[in-house]
C-alpha cells in the first residue's frame, strides 16, 4: 500500500512538472484577476489539478 502510494506520489510530481508552464500561467492569471473571477479561477485550477492527479492511472 505504501509502495503504491509512493509510486503515485512520484507520478503526481511528474505530472505536475509536466503541467508547470500551464500552472504558472494559471497562477499569474489568478493574480491578475480580481473579485469573483479571481476566486473562481483559483478554485477551478485547484480542483482540476486534483482531479488530474487522482486520475493518472485511469487516463493511462
Amino acid at each position: 500500500m505504501i509502495n503504491k502510494l509512493w509510486s503515485w506520489l512520484i507520478q503526481a510530481v511528474k505530472e505536475t512538472l509536466n503541467l508547470a508552464w500551464t500552472l504558472v500561467g494559471l497562477v499569474i492569471a489568478t493574480l491578475t484577476l480580481t473579485g469573483q473571477a479571481q476566486q473562481i479561477t483559483a478554485i477551478a485550477t485547484v480542483i482540476t489539478l486534483a482531479i488530474w492527479l487522482l486520475t493518472i492511472g485511469f487516463r493511462k
Partner: protein, 627 residues
C-alpha cells in the same frame, strides 16, 4: 481484476469530488424559489390563505419581498394578477403566508366563486434577482354560498406473485374513489361591521368595512380601476411600477392608414364630394416593439419629417425614380448629422512660446470609409465632399520646465486647500529624532492628513485630482514626500466619495484619468470592489506611492491601478500562497455577473495572460499528438 478495481476506485473518487461541486453551485442560486406552497380556505370568513416556506438562506440575493400571483379559473393558472407582501426573508425555513379576503377577491373578480389559484415568487429588487415561480395551488372558497373542498383519491394496486409451478395469480384492487363534500358552512358570524359606501371616480359604488377604509384598500381599488382604463391591467400603481403589467404599445400599420384615409384622390376625382366619410374601424395590431424596432421607427419618422421639409426643394431636382429621391433625403440627413458632429468638435489653439526639442506629437489620420462615401449636393450639381482628416489622438509629453511649473501649481493648490494641524519640524530637528520619535511623528502626520482630507468637499478633492492629472502621476516623483502622502490620501478619499455619492461625469473623468482608466465606469466598479476585495482596497491605498516608485525606474509604460492590484496580489500570494485558496467566499460568487466587478483595464491585463496560457496548452497537446 486488481486493475479493474483500481480503476473503479479512481472513478468513484472522481465522482465523489465532482458530485458536491454541482450541489454547492445549485444551492447558491441568486434567489431561491420558495418551498412547500399550500393554500387553505377559512369557511367562517371566506379568507384564502396562501402559505409557503422560506429558503434555507444559502443564496446570494435573499428575498426582499414575495410576489403572489393569482387568478380565478379552472385552468390552474395564476398569471392575471399579482400582489406583494411587505416582508422579505427573515428566518431560514420558516413559513410565511398571505391572506386574500373574500371582499378583496370580490372587488377584483366580482364574486368569490370559482377556483382561486395562486403561486409565489421570491424577489430581490436591489440585485434585480427573481426566483422561479412555485407550482400553482388552487382552492374553491365561495363565501356566502357553499364552500366545497373536493378531493378525489384514486388508488390502484397491482400485485403479482409467481409460484414454482409456473402459475401466476394476479390480484387487482379496483380503484376507489372517495368524494368528500363538506356541508354548507354556518352562516357568517353576526358581528357588527360598519360598512362604508364609496363612490369611485368612474361612478360605481362599492362597500367597504372600516378596516378596509383604514388600510388603504379604497385607494388601491381606485388605482386598479384607473390602471385598467389606462393600461388594461387591473393592478395597483405599485404593481405597474414593478412591471407586472405588460403594457402594449398600439401601432397602426401605415399601409392600412393610408388605404383607409387616402381620400385625396377621391376628393379630386369625384364629381360629388361626400361630406360623410365612411367611418370604419381599422384593425389594430398590438405589437411589442424591441429597442431595435423602436430605433428603426424613429429613423423612419425622422426620414418622413425631412421628406416633408424638403418637399418643395426636391421639386427643383429631377429624379428618375422614387429610389433616387429617397437616396437624396438619406444623404441629406447624413450630411446634416456629420455637420452637427463637426460643430461639436472643439478647436483649441496651442501657442508655443519656445518650441521645445523633445515634444513628441503622435498624429493619426483616420479617414473612415463612411466619410469618404458621403456625398453632398450643391444647388447646381452633385459634388463629392472634401476628405476630412481627423486628428484622433494628440499626446504631448511635458518638458522638465513644464513639469516643474505643474508641480509648483499642484503644491500651491494643496497648500491652499490642506492645512495640517501638526507642529512644523525642520530637517535638522528631524535628524535629531530617534527612530521611535520618527515613527511617532510620521504616524501623527499621516493621521492629520487623513483627518483633513476626509473633511474635504468633493469639489476640493476633484480640484487636487485635476492638478495631479496636469502633472501626471508618473511625474509625481518630482514633488515632496508630504505632497505625495496628501495625493495618496486624496485618491483614496475620492474612491470613498464615489461609494457614497454619485460623481458628475466630469468628476468621474478626472478620477478615471488619475487611476489610468480608459472607461469612466471603472471608477464605480473600483468603488464597489474595495468593499469586498482586499487587494483592490490596498491598491487604491498604495497606488500613488507605487506609481511614483514605478516612475523612478524610467519605464515608458503607464502605471495604472490594475498594475498596483496585480503587484499586491502577487505579494500577498508570495507571503501566503494557501490564502488564495482558503480566503475564498463561496457565498459571494455569483456566476451570472462574473467579471462585472473587474475594471476594463484589469480585464485587458488578465486577457493578456490567460489567452496565451490557453494557447500554449493547446499547442502542447497538439505537439504531443504528433509525437
Amino acid at each position: 481484476m486488481l486493475s479493474t478495481l483500481n480503476s473503479l476506485s479512481r472513478i468513484t473518487c472522481v465522482l465523489f469530488l465532482i458530485a458536491p461541486t454541482s450541489i454547492a453551485l445549485a444551492d447558491h442560486v441568486p434567489t431561491q424559489t420558495p418551498y412547500d406552497i399550500s393554500i387553505a380556505c377559512d369557511s367562517s370568513n371566506g379568507d384564502i390563505t396562501v402559505t409557503w416556506q422560506e429558503s434555507d438562506g444559502f443564496e446570494s440575493s435573499p428575498p426582499e419581498r414575495y410576489a403572489i400571483g393569482f387568478d380565478v379559473n379552472e385552468n390552474g393558472t395564476a398569471d392575471a394578477y399579482a400582489v406583494a407582501n411587505s416582508t422579505g426573508w427573515e428566518t431560514a425555513l420558516s413559513y410565511k403566508s398571505y391572506v386574500f379576503s373574500a371582499s378583496y377577491r370580490e372587488s377584483i373578480f366580482g364574486n368569490t366563486q370559482g377556483t382561486f389559484n395562486a403561486k409565489v415568487r421570491a424577489d430581490n429588487d436591489t440585485d434585480s434577482s427573481y426566483s422561479e415561480w412555485t407550482s400553482t395551488v388552487g382552492i374553491a372558497c365561495d363565501y356566502g354560498s357553499t364552500t366545497t373542498t373536493s378531493s378525489t383519491t384514486t388508488s390502484s394496486t397491482t400485485t403479482s406473485s409467481t409460484t414454482t409451478s409456473s402459475t401466476t395469480t394476479t390480484t387487482t384492487i379496483p380503484p376507489t374513489t372517495t368524494t368528500t363534500t363538506t356541508l354548507p358552512p354556518p352562516p357568517p358570524p353576526t358581528t357588527t361591521t360598519t360598512l362604508y359606501v364609496v363612490v369611485m371616480a368612474d361612478g360605481t359604488e362599492s362597500e367597504y368595512t372600516e378596516t378596509e377604509v383604514n388600510d388603504g384598500t379604497i385607494e388601491r381599488d381606485q388605482e386598479r380601476i384607473d390602471n385598467e382604463l389606462e393600461f388594461g391591467c387591473f393592478m395597483t400603481n405599485a404593481q405597474i411600477e414593478r412591471g407586472d403589467c405588460i403594457i402594449i404599445i398600439e401601432v397602426y400599420e401605415e399601409e392600412d392608414y393610408e388605404e383607409e384615409y387616402n381620400t385625396e384622390e377621391e376628393l379630386f376625382n369625384d364629381v360629388v364630394v361626400v361630406d360623410e366619410v365612411e367611418d370604419e374601424f381599422i384593425e389594430e395590431e398590438f405589437i411589442e416593439l424591441s429597442e431595435q424596432e423602436i430605433k428603426e421607427l424613429e429613423k423612419q419618422m425622422e426620414f418622413e419629417v425631412k421628406e416633408l421639409e424638403l418637399k418643395d426643394e426636391i421639386e427643383f431636382f429631377e429624379f428618375d425614380n422614387e429610389e433616387e429621391a429617397q437616396e437624396f433625403i438619406e444623404t441629406f440627413i447624413e450630411v446634416e448629422e456629420f455637420l452637427e458632429e463637426l460643430e461639436e468638435v472643439k478647436v483649441e489653439e496651442i501657442v508655443f512660446k519656445d518650441i521645445p526639442k523633445d515634444i513628441i506629437i503622435e498624429i493619426e489620420d483616420e479617414i473612415t470609409e463612411d466619410e469618404l462615401v458621403k456625398e453632398v449636393f450643391t444647388d447646381e450639381s452633385e459634388a463629392e465632399t472634401e476628405v476630412q482628416e481627423q486628428v484622433v489622438e494628440e499626446e504631448v509629453e511635458l518638458t522638465k520646465e513644464e513639469i516643474k511649473v505643474e508641480v509648483a501649481e499642484l503644491e500651491e493648490v494643496i497648500e491652499e486647500i490642506i492645512v495640517i494641524d501638526i507642529p512644523e519640524v525642520t530637517e535638522e530637528e528631524l535628524e535629531k529624532y530617534t527612530e521611535e520619535e520618527l515613527i511617532e511623528y510620521e504616524e501623527a502626520k499621516e493621521e492629520a492628513i487623513e483627518e483633513f482630507v476626509e473633511e474635504l468637499e468633493t469639489e476640493e478633492v476633484v480640484e487636487i485630482l485635476e492638478e495631479i492629472n496636469d502633472v501626471g502621476v508618473e511625474n509625481l516623483a518630482e514633488v515632496s514626500q508630504e505632497v505625495i502622502e496628501v495625493v495618496a490620501q486624496v485618491v483614496e478619499e475620492v474612491i470613498t466619495i464615489a461609494q457614497e455619492e454619485v460623481l458628475t461625469e466630469e468628476q468621474t473623468e478626472v478620477v478615471a484619468e488619475v487611476l489610468g482608466f480608459t472607461e469612466t465606469e471603472d471608477v464605480q466598479i473600483v468603488a464597489e470592489a474595495i468593499k469586498t476585495d482586499e487587494n483592490v482596497a490596498q491598491a487604491v491605498d498604495e497606488f500613488v506611492e507605487r506609481a511614483v516608485e514605478f516612475a523612478k525606474n524610467d519605464s515608458d509604460q503607464e502605471f495604472t491601478l490594475a498594475d498596483a492590484t496585480t503587484e499586491i496580489a502577487f505579494e500577498s500570494f508570495v507571503a501566503s500562497p494557501v490564502s488564495v485558496i482558503i480566503d475564498i467566499d463561496l457565498d459571494a460568487i455569483n456566476l451570472n455577473n462574473i467579471a462585472n466587478d473587474m475594471t476594463t483595464d484589469q480585464k485587458e491585463k488578465a486577457q493578456e495572460v490567460i489567452v496565451p496560457t490557453i494557447l500554449v496548452r493547446i499547442v502542447s497537446f497538439a505537439l504531443r499528438r504528433f509525437d
